[in-house]
């Protein structure tokens, strides 16, 4: 299948964005040049034969200099048009006016070197024709279609002679013929359909549903493909290979379906000398388990390196008959490349246990998370406080202040606006502190440290209403509590016990200013100390000394719904955090959701929302979105104009 020489021997590696898409395409207008302006200025400079400048200068209205110039332009343009009309020459103006399109067909290019390009020489030929036809004016080609025999082009009627005279010109080593035709430009969709039908026929014989095997071996000997003459040149063979793969996999919408349908692929005996020639396989079927590459012409590992980070699920690989198998480090390298590889050239190279170990080695060790822990000295202060605190914060913040805060209590909040969030941050940013940004803002930062119950109460009135999950839902909370001994007792009698409580969780919020509802993740640190003896009732034995609220980007790991409820399954970070056996299990943390299952779910959801294939959905999620569903959707919105059609699930 591959060309025998290096891939770029024929100079066909130029990126041709349009190239791989067969079929009809509308030529883009060339870069806009102020053609009229140029023409008129040139004509004016020549003090036109039609008296343009003179007419301008001697104009009855007798305008100033600036206007004279304008008049010069306009009149010389008219002069130009008149000249062209009289001379019977095509001009920009007339061709624009007539706008008649004529179909021409070009032949002979098939023998040129350019025909070996990925696009069959289409781009080179278009450039050549336009350049050569544009002798003393700019000439462009409209629609074009390339089929087996002809390159069909649509040109302006006035430009026809410029193209017809190109017959006999040599394009990349081959003389071409340009002829006018009354035939209709072939409907490309029928050509494509015909091609597709043939390739489908090829595939039908080559798919084994029992073994889930797609046998694309020895394509060069396939009768149908030979009749289509797709393997005469390497680049066309590569294109055909991509087309075959696409047709084969197109009917499967998700990565899971593809993985089920295609567990094994053979591309043996195709004269492949670099896996780059069949790279598409790694894109279309990334989760392949068995791959047969035997009987090809791969001679070094470098020729396989494009697949180095691909096929993570590959268990079986056949390379027999490739010179690379004779190299000493091939086996050890391939074992590194493919963490699941067990069988190489029908030899067991790794046991399933070893595979498990190599997989484990590839994954970062998760940082274990113990469950919530209330080490509050067994006096039940922390649970009592938390159970009172959050319901009151949701319903009656003033009362909360009067219960637990006094004139020396501190409150501050720290928020950072995330991207792609449904919830606005505006309500918080006015009060948010970030001491990282000291300097110019330190004064305002100081102001944002709220001291005393009444100030704090005022601030809380300005914050959006919240609803925290009930304390009876332990998997919604992560709580740490510590005592610390050396707090000065407010009664002035030595030291008293303090309590530090760190709470992590999420709450529902209604941002009334924007009329938006949503969820936020928060961390809140309290320092509780003994009450002052002269506090007004109600008397709790302790008070809030410090209350620090940090808001995070909410990370809806597996929640597809835009407005989740607190009764929904608890969210988990994208990374699996295994829960160690509980030590003091007042408030256990929910078991971790497996990483892979979560990702699969996310991919499926993104695919559903965007219409993208599973591969592209995965790309979208794993990129800057970092498995954040909302971010992935946002980046999709930004990028969707740039995505190739292959990014989307074909609509039947």
């Amino acid at each position: 299948m591959a060309p025998t020489g290096p891939r770029n021997a024929s100079g066909n590696t130029r990126a041709t964005p349009r190239a791989s898409r067969g079929g009809i395409s509308k030529r883009r207008a060339p870069g806009k040049t102020d053609r009229d302006g140029d023409v008129s200025m040139d004509a004016a400079a020549g003090s036109g034969p039609n008296g343009g400048p003179a007419a301008g200068r001697g104009g009855a209205r007798g305008r100033g200099r600036k206007d004279t110039r304008g008049t010069t332009r306009a009149s010389s343009r008219i002069a130009e048009n008149v000249k062209n009309f009289v001379g019977g020459r095509d001009s920009v103006a007339t061709s624009k006016a007539l706008f008649n399109k004529v179909t021409l067909k070009v032949s002979g290019f098939q023998a040129s070197k350019a025909a070996q390009n990925d696009d069959g020489g289409r781009r080179a030929l278009t450039d050549f024709l336009e350049r050569k036809a544009s002798k003393d004016k700019k000439v462009t080609i409209g629609k074009s279609v390339m089929d087996k025999d002809y390159f069909w082009i649509s040109v302006n009627k006035g430009d026809v002679p410029d193209f017809l005279r190109l017959t006999g010109f040599i394009m990349a080593g081959a003389p071409i013929t340009v002829e006018e035709t009354d035939e209709k430009m072939p409907d490309v969709s029928s050509t494509t359909l015909e091609l597709k039908a043939k390739l489908t026929e090829v595939l039908a014989k080559r798919y084994n549903p029992e073994q889930r095997l797609l046998d694309l071996s020895a394509l060069g000997t396939d009768e149908i493909l030979r009749s289509m003459d797709v393997f005469s040149q390497g680049s066309r063979a590569e294109k055909a290979f991509r087309a075959l793969l696409r047709i084969a996999t197109d009917q499967y919408k998700t990565g899971d379906e593809k993985k089920e349908a295609f567990q094994a692929v053979s591309i043996a005996r195709n004269d492949i000398n670099d896996v780059g020639q069949v790279f598409q396989l790694a894109i279309e079927l990334p989760r392949l388990k068995r791959l047969d590459l035997s009987g090809n012409n791969l001679d070094t590992l470098a020729k396989m390196s494009k697949w180095r980070h691909r096929f993570k699920n590959l268990e079986e690989l056949h390379l027999t008959g490739n010179p690379v198998t004779a190299l000493s480090d091939t086996v050890s390298e391939l074992l590194k490349w493919f963490p699941n590889l067990q069988n190489l050239n029908s030899q067991q190279v790794r046991t399933p246990e070893e595979v498990a170990e190599s997989l484990k080695a590839q994954q970062p060790t998760p940082i274990p998370q113990l469950p919530s822990n209330l080490r509050d000295g067994d006096n039940n202060v922390a649970p009592a406080f938390l159970q009172a605190f959050f319901p009151l914060f949701d319903t009656d913040r003033d009362r909360l202040i009067s219960e637990f805060y006094d004139d020396d209590s501190w409150f501050s909040l720290s928020a950072m606006p995330g991207t792609g969030r449904a919830l606005p941050w505006k309500s918080y940013m006015k009060y948010s502190r970030n001491i990282q940004q000291i300097g110019s803002r330190s004064a305002s930062t100081q102001q944002r440290l709220f001291t005393g119950g009444s100030l704090i109460a005022d601030l809380w009135k300005a914050l959006p209403p919240t609803r925290h999950p009930g304390m009876d839902q332990p998997n919604q909370w992560l709580i740490d509590c510590h005592t610390f001994p050396n707090l000065a007792d407010p009664s002035g009698q030595g030291f008293a016990m303090g309590l530090q409580i760190i709470v992590q969780g999420q709450y529902e919020e209604a941002d009334l200013s924007a009329n938006v509802f949503g969820t936020r993740t928060f961390s809140r640190t309290f320092i509780l100390g003994p009450s002052k003896p002269n506090n007004p009732p109600p008397q709790h034995p302790y008070r809030v000394m410090s209350d620090q609220l940090t808001l995070h980007n909410w990370t809806p790991a597996a929640a597809p719904a835009s407005i989740p409820t607190i009764t929904a399954a608890p969210q988990q970070a994208a990374i699996a955090v295994p829960v160690a056996p509980q030590v003091v299990t007042t408030l256990p943390v929910q078991p971790a959701v497996s990483d892979d299952a979560l990702k699969a779910q996310l991919i499926q959801e993104v695919s559903k929302r965007t219409g993208m294939t599973a591969e592209y959905s995965e790309l979208c999620l794993s990129g800057t979105a970092n498995w954040n569903f909302e971010l992935a959707l946002k980046s999709f919105e930004e990028q969707k104009g740039n995505l190739p059609p292959t990014a989307f699930i074909a609509v039947a």
Partner: protein
């Protein structure tokens, strides 16, 4: 307080990311580290715990720090992200420090609570 805080946070994370064993001088025998709810008491045990964490390389990026005075020191809350072992997925975390002043007036970490953001 602001100055002290900025100094502390910069020092803590640059040391942590370079060689976390060198954090030992920040803790005392009464210091407590709670790492993902696992609790360790005392400077040497803390150093051991930090050194034994299941990653080699770590990079902290702290987005926000906030601080409040306490009767005997400062409460510092840091929120940020960290990358372990050249991973590609940053993990969000919060870390709460309680700095206290010892008899000689210098500050040490009395309580250090680290948690990944799991919600």
């Amino acid at each position: 307080m602001v100055q002290l805080l900025a100094q502390f946070v910069t020092h803590y994370y640059s040391t942590f990311d370079a060689d976390r064993k060198n954090l030992a001088p920040l803790y005392r025998d009464t210091s407590m580290l709670t790492f993902q709810s696992d609790q360790v008491l005392g400077a040497s045990a803390i150093t051991e715990k930090l050194a034994g964490l299941p990653f080699q390389k770590v990079v902290h990026k702290y987005d926000r720090t906030d601080a409040q005075p306490t009767p005997n020191g400062i409460l510092i809350v840091v929120a940020g992200q960290l990358l372990v072992d050249d991973g590609e997925q940053p993990l969000s975390y919060t870390q709460t420090f309680l700095l206290a002043q010892d008899g000689s007036g210098s500050y040490y970490v009395q309580n250090d609570v680290f948690n990944l953001v799991v919600f």
